[in-house]
Amino acid sequence: MTGRPPPPPPPQQQQWGGQAYYGGYYGQQGYEGYDPYQQYNQAYYAQQQQQQYAAAAGQPPPPPSDDASAPPPPPSKDGEAPSSASAAGYDQQQAQQQYAAQQAAHGGAYSGYSGYYGQQPGAYGQQPGAYGQQQGYPGAYGQQAGAYGQLQGYPGAYGQQQSYAGAYGQQPAGYPGAPHYGQQQHQQGPQPGTYGAAAGQPPLPPGKPEAASSAAVPAWKAAADRVAAAAAAGQRAQQAGSAAGRSPAGPSAAAGAFDDSYNAVPPPAALAGAGGGAAPAGRRTFSIRPQLPRQQPPPPASPLVAAFKQAAAQLGPGVAGAAAAPAYTAVQVSSQQQRMAAAPAAAAAAAVSPQQWPPALKAWVERAFKAADVRQRPKLQEVLKKVIGDAQAAGELWTRDWESMPMPDLSYSAADAAAVLAEVAAVSGSSAAAGGAAGAAAGAWGQQRPGAGSRWSSPAAPPSQQQQSLAQAAAYAQQAAAYAQQAAAAKAAAARGGKGGGSRAGQRYRLDTGGEDDRYGYSRGHSRQHGQAGKGRKRSYRSDSSTSDSDEEHWSYAERQRRQRRAGRFADAGGRLGGSASSWRAEEERRQRLLAVMDEGSDEEVDWDSLAIKGTCQDLEKSYFRLTSAPDPATVRPEPVLRRALERLVGLLRAREVGYFYALDQFKGMRQDCVIQHIRNDLAVQVYEAHARAALEYGDVAEYNQCQSQLRTLYNEGVPGSKLEFLAYRIIYQAVHARHGEILQLLNTLKKVKREEAAHPAVAHALAVRAALAAQDYRRFFALYASAPALGRALMDIYVPSLRFDALGVAVKAFKPTVPLPFLACMLGFAAASPACSAGKAGDPASSSPSTNPAPASELASVEEPGKSDAGASPSKPDSPAAAEAAAAANGSAGAGAAAGPGAASPHAGGGAAAAAAAAAAAAGGEEEEVPPPGCRETHYVGDYPAKDDLEEGCQDCAAWLAECGAVVTGGTDGDGGGEGGAFVASQAALDCKASAAQQLKMPEEKAKVAHGDENLKLEDFLARF
């Protein structure tokens, strides 16, 4: 994942009619729509302006009674002016920091944001009238602002460990706040894409070990419960006839999707990342749906408040408060404070000339300009002005760490950010009013808490204003529902609207972060969510609301029961149907985003990784299916699942429980999942390596080649793995095929072999094989065949038949009149090269101690012996076996590497005994590893052409092979080899070179291991697929 900050909202004013759009949008959405900014503001304030913040945040929960009297802040736009500059500035900066931090922990955030934008059309649907509504119910705002102020007191109490739960806690609060969307959010939850965003998370960042995950799980559960609660609220809302939330998707679809959100695959953590799924819609949606929204009835602001309160009450005071509070409160307060502080500061900012800037800032600005496209410069200027003005206003021009400041993100303009915040400010009223409102609304909140009705129809909030607003909320919601159902375009709109709601939900979860300790909570909470999603998904997911958790402790027993019941109601209803529907939606959004990317042109670096699918499939066993269309995330396994799947398959192979074709199918499926999800890390390497080994072991060279080529690129990218092992395979493969046009590639490979790599036993062996092949040194080749490490033999197997045939040609041509079969069998690797093999020949093992082995003087003397001895028949000396053993021991102590090392360079060094010793040493080395390498069934791969230890057997094989070639074998029974008559004794037979030369020798036909036909297809393997 890149550290690139995600693009915040693009400038869309023109398209949407400028301020009217924003006014409407934020009028409607004021408390939820602009959350990223709020979030940053909040974090920023927690971090940087603690004193001020403390003033607001630290205030104890105000008495519950005085909210009604709070003067509602006028939603006039006048309020926006002061705040816009500073707010935007903060946003810029904070957004950068937060995003960066977040990106580090979790890549899905980016898509989350995009998703947020992608969903906006849904929000627009309501906006036109919203603004008007907002005018009409100013009281609601005041109240709410007050509520926030009050809620602010909670985070501290809530505590750090709650921060994560807070993320979810927010949701229920948000839900009632926007009944209209609330339900959609839930529908959206289960989107596979979404889920994948969480599921495909990289492991927790090193900084947060178990703590995060352990905290994450319970928090998650709490969240799940809250989701359930919110859902319940949604249900009630429906029953009450104000099921506005349903409207877009249509009742039944909504219900289906709704169920799904609780019970289907994705854990609620995914809900938080809902944006991830929604992401692909991207900015494009902006231009797609301008026409739909107008008819939809705007839900007034007051229902938001009412619903908010209601849900809060329902969730229990502590939880709801803590959960709901941070998202809104801090932001509101901070924006007010900011406005107060920023109004003069913004003016002052302009006054400070660049000459007075700190050098680090200057450098930063310079960097920013360099990094920016020329076309973006005006925008950049604007952004920078805000950032710097902001820093100045905060008096941090010299204290801020400009060096580590990320570049401002220009994909959204400062103007947008400013406009957004201006609207926020307008909505929440003037700073003075807001202050009062804070106190007042806090009262409302507290008052409502104890008895706040669990039904829409019976709100227990006593203040008349509240009641009024509630009633209105209900009315509007009803109206909305009616409209939505009537709307001709309801269905199409529904999908979008639902989507929008969903992603906003995701957005909102993120907002929250509870306690004061959690100033960085944004990123932290996130990483936890994702860590949890990756690790503990299964558990948390199953046991959604049944476990107790700090959040749940606040609930009464009855409440818990109710929740469980409700959760159980949806437990089996979700499943595939909803999953596929939402997956389709996610896919659609991804497509849209891709289109958007294509539309944008190629002058920007496209982060393709962010467009990669995130799988949601949990199956460890999955058959390969060659995709004919875009992959469905529901059938793609995320990385952690793939790891387990690989582990399982490797285990099965080791236990020899499955055949190659089953493994092939599984490996291909894993490879596909890796490719689809752009997984190019050690996991991918492991999959390819295991598959390559399995293929080699079986003899499926085609599959091996595919894996090898992928591995090569992966290794070149620096991904760790068994690089040298596969380098050795590649050298052998290319050497084996050197005559068939691979010689250039071989040369290329050799060029890249570094000295230290060449010293590795496997690579040294491979190089020796290559040298032996180049020299057509059959003896040496088969000695190396016997000593091949790992699966090198599998590749050498490829060449054995033709090499044997070539050797036969050489023998037939060079020898006269006959060649005894024992000699031939040893030379061609039918029988193990042993002293017995060359018994009766001049091969004195003592003379063949390799040059690396310092031979004693006595042995050196014996070197001359074969030369002196009669070439005809020097009998093997009685002490030769002992000498051979000594040589073998010396060689063995030198180690296989040492034996192969010099041998690699000079293939003719080392005698038969040395080769045998090397083979023995290598074999011994191989046996040390008890466990077969991943992907293999056997610890020690024997190869297709193992030499027989017994000479007679080897000679029999050799004779049979010679017969296949059409060569003439004499002796054995009655030939000049002095046979005993009767039975054929192969070791007494000989190849008649003259007679064989007269024959047309032909290479025995090889049977392909992986036939293109079905002759080799194992039926059980085939059936095992079903």
Binding site: G741, L744, L747, A814, S847, K868, H908
Partner: protein, 405 residues
């Protein structure tokens, strides 16, 4: 030279169809062009070459506009951008090349394609340093293919075909660098075809370059006779002052000649700094297997990098043969009446004296291979452990041996 003067010179060249001079003006190494562009940009920061060059004839104006932009980008140090400009310059040039009836456009074509390649290489270098994928040289290969096609068609004037060999050379150079040598085959087939202009019509420099590459490629095909012929052609036609090129040719010619049994004179080796081959040559001369093996081990990485390792490796049998020949001579002295029957034990002892201690099976294997590959005429008696060599000419000239498999 000011930019105006530069343009004027260019315009004059175009007007009088002076190819060679235009070639000099167009190359990116041209001091005049660099100076002109530099001056123009210094005088006017917002200088736009498109305006300045608009007075040139159609086609040329676009070409020079992009070309000057390329130069400007190079002066700024942004090579990737320069490459893009160079590609942009190529297309108007090819149009001019196609439409102009005169053969004089061949000369500037040389500059254009050479510019393209060197800028591509620089761009790749820049990309590599920036950690990005260097793909400009590969793209350059594709661009050159277009140039080659145009020059091969030679619309309007057959003499325009004379641009083709230079493009072929450049392409092969790129393929060598990118290790995509299989692409060379098609080009070479075209060069040999009748469609191509007569080979001798091309300038000697281009012929030498081409033959050098042909020789090197023939080595990979184990076609050593052709390799020798081509490389010798290159050596003989190389300009006498081009010492570096000669040394380069010899670097590949010497191993081929060794393989075919021709040892270079010490003077030649010394004259062209071919010291890496000296021990090999000595080993070939004396049949010193040990020296040969040691040299191959010690120089392995160098030879591999130079691309001669696989070639030199094949000399091993020649060294063995030399040793066997010595054994044969000694044996003939000892037992004149059995001179044709060399005991393998003697060969084995000789090898052991070289530090190569092999058992008899392996010695037999080597001997069998020597016979099979026609290094030695004769046969082996396994039973008697004797190599029986032909009475006449038992060691035929090396170039008759079966070097290729």
């Amino acid at each position: 030279m000011s930019f105006a003067a530069y343009l004027q010179a260019v315009g004059a060249c175009i007007a009088r169809q002076d190819g060679p001079q235009l070639r000099d003006l167009v190359t990116i190494d041209s001091g005049a062009a660099q100076q002109a562009v530099m001056q123009a940009r210094q005088g006017n920061p917002g200088w736009n070459p498109a305006h300045a060059t608009s007075r040139l004839p159609e086609g040329w104006a676009e070409f020079f506009s992009s070309h000057c932009a390329c130069l400007a980008a190079l002066q700024d140090g942004s090579r990737v951008e320069a490459y893009e400009k160079a590609v942009a310059a190529l297309h108007p040039f090819l149009k001019v090349f196609r439409e102009d009836a005169g053969a004089w456009v061949v000369s500037p074509m040389h500059s254009v394609v050479h510019n393209l390649r060197s800028v591509a290489q620089m761009a790749d270098h820049e990309l590599r340093r920036a950690g990005q994928r260097p793909d400009k040289l590969g793209d350059c290969g594709d661009q050159l293919r277009k140039c080659f096609a145009v020059s091969l068609q030679a619309p309007g004037n057959k003499d325009k075909k004379l641009a083709a060999l230079d493009i072929v050379n450049l392409s092969i150079k790129i393929y060598f660098r990118l290790n995509t040598l299989r692409l060379c085959k098609n080009l070479m087939r075209t060069v040999d075809s009748r469609q191509f202009a007569a080979f001798n019509a091309f300038p000697a420099a281009q012929r030498v370059t081409y033959k050098f590459y042909v020789g090197r490629l023939a080595v990979f095909d184990e076609n050593y006779q052709e390799a020798r012929a081509s490389l010798e052609y290159a050596l003989q036609h190389c300009h006498r002052a081009a010492q570096r090129n000669k040394a380069l040719v010899l670097k590949y010619l010497v191993p081929v000649q060794l393989l075919l049994g021709h040892l270079p004179s010490p003077a030649l080796v010394a004259a062209h700094q071919l010291h890496q081959y000296e021990p090999i040559i000595a080993a070939m001369r004396s049949g010193d297997v040990k020296l040969f093996n040691n040299t191959m081990d010690a120089q392995q990485f160098r030879f591999i990098q130079e691309g001669t390792y696989l070639l030199l490796e094949k000399l091993r049998y020649a060294v063995f043969r030399r040793l066997l020949r010595k054994v044969h001579a000694v044996h003939a002295k000892l037992e004149p009446e059995k001179r044709a029957q060399i005991p393998l034990a003697q060969f084995q002892a000789a090898l052991a004296m070289q530090g190569l201690e092999l058992d008899m099976d392996e010695v037999e294997c080597i001997a069998a291979n020597l016979i099979f590959r026609k290094y030695v005429k004769g046969y082996l008696s396994h039973k008697a452990k004797i190599m029986v060599v032909a009475k006449t000419d038992p060691f035929p000239p090396l170039d008759t041996a079966a070097l290729a498999d």
